[in-house]
């Protein structure tokens, strides 16, 4: 039994490498869709998360502590639970059912964006808060207005912000619950790396699953290394 399983894994691994290096169209299509969906979700979360983080990091107002606490708590939200909420939201009887977004890449993008927003907001807020408080005053003494000084602080935190964005992207591309619930893994339309890995493994198509898992790990690793390298060059 062990021997058979061992053989199966080696066999699967060999086939997986073959699929990757032969430029298999299905593998290619799933990869591209995964990257597109997750990078769009990351951009969306930065679009609405950055202003929130900037306010949390730069301004002092009543309720700030609670709001920060909320985003920190949401970091650990179970993806399936969020997927279920979003499923109900997008379903025909849900509040935006009339848009017919369920089981579409758009729903997956929105779902992932919502999922990673706590990461984007919390990490960027921390990045802004860790900037030396003298930077804002320094900018002012050099002639900056209040707004220009705040921009200087944001720029100073860019290194850590890019790491926060990378973490958000990695979380998005590696998550399964939300995309499965609102995307449904429709071949050629909504299937992405994680959903296909889960489905193909269940079907016993271990080779394709392994190939996609290797690619997923490669994407996550390469993105992190590239961002780190850019960071090091800048500093």
């Amino acid at each position: 039994m062990h021997l058979t399983l061992g053989n199966e894994i080696i066999d699967g691994l060999l086939k997986a490498l073959q699929l990757i290096f032969s430029g298999d169209p299905t593998v290619f299509e799933i990869c591209v869709r995964s990257i597109l969906v997750s990078s769009s979700a990351t951009m969306l979360s930065v679009l609405w998360g950055l202003p929130v983080a900037a306010i949390l990091g730069l301004k002092r107002f009543p309720g700030r502590f609670l709001l920060k606490g909320f985003f920190n708590a949401m970091l650990g939200i179970p993806t399936v639970a969020l997927g279920l909420v979003l499923y109900l939201f997008f379903s025909h009887s849900g509040p935006v059912g009339f848009l017919h977004l369920l089981y579409s890449p758009t729903a997956m993008i929105i779902g992932q964006a919502v999922l990673i927003t706590p990461i984007t907001v919390s990490f960027i807020t921390n990045a802004i808060e860790s900037v030396d408080p003298e930077i804002k005053e320094l900018a002012k003494t050099l002639g900056a207005s209040e707004t220009e000084a705040s921009i200087a602080v944001l720029k100073e935190s860019m290194g850590s912000v890019s790491l926060a964005v990378t973490a958000s992207f990695n979380r998005a591309i590696a998550e399964l619950g939300v995309v499965l619930m609102v995307g449904g893994n429709i071949a050629g339309f909504t299937s992405v790396l994680t959903t296909t890995i889960a489905l193909e493994t269940n079907k016993g198509e271990i080779a394709l699953a392994i190939a996609l898992a290797i690619i997923l790990l490669l994407i996550v690793t390469i993105v992190s290394i590239v961002v780190n390298l850019i960071q090091r060059r800048k500093t």
């Binding site: 003494t141 002639g143 290194g159």
Partner: protein
């Protein structure tokens, strides 16, 4: 000369703590003015208010005769600039650090590059444009901060302890640049310092600040003409000692400052004398020092303050001495609190206050 900056009944409180109490002051256009006072006397707060990055709790600040308020604060910030005691730099190149303020003032690319070259030459950092600013030594970083301020050609330059934590070579470069800028560019300079000798070298006028109040404003010599003990206690200088002095007959005098400590000085004076030993002139050693220095003491370290590249030590040798050494030497000598240490300084290093 007309006043460029006027403070009228300016007070500043942080909660219950009063940092400034009814300060009235006029800084004249084109002068070098110095705030003298111990740590915590309100020098920094005063500079921050003048720089427009802090609002007074009450009172009025006028710039070129106009009251500073929300409507013109941005204009005032464009005409004044401040160099902080703790060097603040953007995490980028020297070039971009200096370019920041120029960009806000609408300089073209060529004007910016030319200006940066010029100011780096002034602070003796030619060719440093591409270097990451934060990787420079403490003294070089402070010179970049000064160059960045100079590039803006502001009417007023405010400096908070610009030479507090750097080595003597960098101190002299900075002091020379400040004198030059004031003379050549007619920039009004306000410098806060706890170093009375720096105040004397640089400024024609000074204000003595104590616990948020201006105790005296006047020509620097007038401040120095205050009874020496009063000045020393006001300024709460480090390494200031008072006692009865006796002429030795060898061209020196011996000042008995109490607690078994006698300091030999290179002048002949008898009677009550107050002396100052510059921290940077004191030599430290883990072993007894054999040298021509006339003053040699054994003590124990009671305090270590890490100031970046420089480490400041307080050594109790009967009296407390403050000594300044490089961090490298401190690490090499493996100094810790309560370490036994020997210190020595020349009689000629000792100055009268």
């Amino acid at each position: 000369m007309k006043p460029i900056m006027e403070l009228e009944n300016v007070s500043k409180a942080y909660g219950n703590i009063i940092a400034l109490n009814q300060v009235n002051l006029k800084v004249q256009e084109g002068e070098i003015f110095s705030f003298l006072g111990p740590n915590g006397s309100g020098k920094t707060t005063l500079l921050r208010i003048m720089a427009g990055i802090e609002k007074p709790t009450s009172g009025e600040v006028r710039f070129n005769g106009a009251k500073v308020d929300e409507s013109n604060i941005n204009d005032v910030r464009l005409k004044t600039t401040m160099v902080f005691q703790k060097t603040a730099l953007f995490s980028t190149s020297v070039f971009k650090n200096i370019a920041y303020g120029l960009r806000l003032r609408g300089y073209s690319k060529k004007e910016t590059a030319d200006k940066i070259r010029e100011v780096l030459r002034t602070v003796k950092l030619e060719g440093y444009e591409k270097r990451p600013a934060k990787k420079l030594s403490g003294g070089e970083q402070q010179r970049v901060a000064l160059a960045r301020a100079l590039a803006l050609d502001t009417e007023v330059l405010l400096l908070d302890e610009p030479t507090a934590n750097i080595d003597p070579k960098n101190v002299s470069i900075i002091e020379n640049v400040l004198s030059w800028v004031n003379k050549e560019k007619k920039t009004t300079i306000v410098v806060a310092t706890h170093n009375v000798f720096q105040a004397e070298t640089l400024a024609k006028r000074a204000a003595l600040l104590l616990e948020g109040k201006i105790v005296k404003v006047g020509a620097t010599q007038e401040i120095f003409a205050l009874p020496s003990k009063l000045l020393a206690s006001y300024a709460r200088l480090e390494n200031v000692f008072s006692g009865a002095s006796k002429v030795t007959g060898e061209g020196t005098s011996l000042v008995d400052v109490g607690d078994g400590v006698q300091i030999e000085v290179a002048f002949e004076q008898s009677g009550n004398t107050t002396v100052f030993v510059p921290p940077e002139d004191i030599i430290l050693s883990a072993n007894p020092i054999v040298s021509s220095a006339r003053n040699s003491f054994e003590g124990r370290i009671v305090e270590i303050s890490d100031l970046g590249t420089i480490v400041r030590l307080r050594v109790n040798a009967g009296k407390d001495f403050t000594v300044q050494i490089t961090k490298r030497s401190c690490n090499d000598m493996q100094l810790n609190i309560d370490s036994k240490i020997f210190l020595a300084f020349k009689a000629s290093s000792v100055q009268t206050v």
